[in-house]
Symmetry: C2
Subunit: 193 residues, 2 copies
Amino acid sequence: MKGAQTKSLILESALKLVSVEGLGAISIGRLAKSVGLSKSGLFAHFDSKNALQEEVLERASNEFVASVVRPALKKPRGIPRLQAMFDNWLRWASSGRLPGGCIFVGAAVELDDKPGPLRDTLVKTQKDWIATLATAARIAIEEGHLPEAPSPEQIAFELYGIMMSYHLYKRLLGDRHARSKARDACHRILGGD
Amino acid sequence: MKGAQTKSLILESALKLVSVEGLGAISIGRLAKSVGLSKSGLFAHFDSKNALQEEVLERASNEFVASVVRPALKKPRGIPRLQAMFDNWLRWASSGRLPGGCIFVGAAVELDDKPGPLRDTLVKTQKDWIATLATAARIAIEEGHLPEAPSPEQIAFELYGIMMSYHLYKRLLGDRHARSKARDACHRILGGD
């Protein structure tokens, strides 16, 4: 029981670190220090740096599902659900729990040229999320909430872009209107208030 | 004369390296090797790693202006010019000269949490580019090519997002339809064929 709690604490700390510095910057030594363990104490929970990176991505993915996807799936089919996915996503990317912003955005740029299992895991999480968005968009079209065109895949592509632009405007450029720009852009695709 | 050529060669090589590995990964030793110089030979051209990183960003910025901005400014005011900016930008991001994709996208994620002169330089290049896009959009509105809303700043924000999404879909997800998705999204904002 205590082991699982310690592991969870380590992952929580690693997530914050990765959000700011990137997956490549994870250092077992530094992480051990931040949670008050010795290096060997930390290795008792993770075999290697690679294993730790994998688990950080998996943990982030679980948290994303819990705070973005699952609450949205409780909303009515169609626009309410799709809109909730987008709103939760914005909230996720600017949450204090991830001081350096969405770790998937960072990882996407960090890993795009680095083939291997970690990149494969990341690609899977992003494809899953894009498919989830596209399914929600398809349902909104079926419900008659959205026109037949653009296609569900196109809607997912465009929402992804709005999110990335929001991330950059807010975090790099310090634009205080980033959120309202993101909402306006989303509104032009999804309509409604 | 020869000194300037060598320096240019070094920067060219550094640009490719940064495109794949990021600004932080620039190593004087590795770079020296890739252009056939000794470390001290390379230091004759750049005082420090910081200076080299600054010059790489500046070089990328000059190339961006030469291959994206300047050719577009020769197009007629309004949609033709704005569309050319977008088309040239897509081409830039997938050009073979940048094997790891647009270095500004990488740098944006890499530097957003790292205050300092390098980040300041990057922010300036991105603000300049966004202002250039917004000005082109403003002219398109004045020419009656686009409606009064969305605002020029909003159009720039959305084009930025399309570009980022394109980058991620193409480079990370390997989506062969990334370009046509980007063009469709652009078309919905700018209209035309």
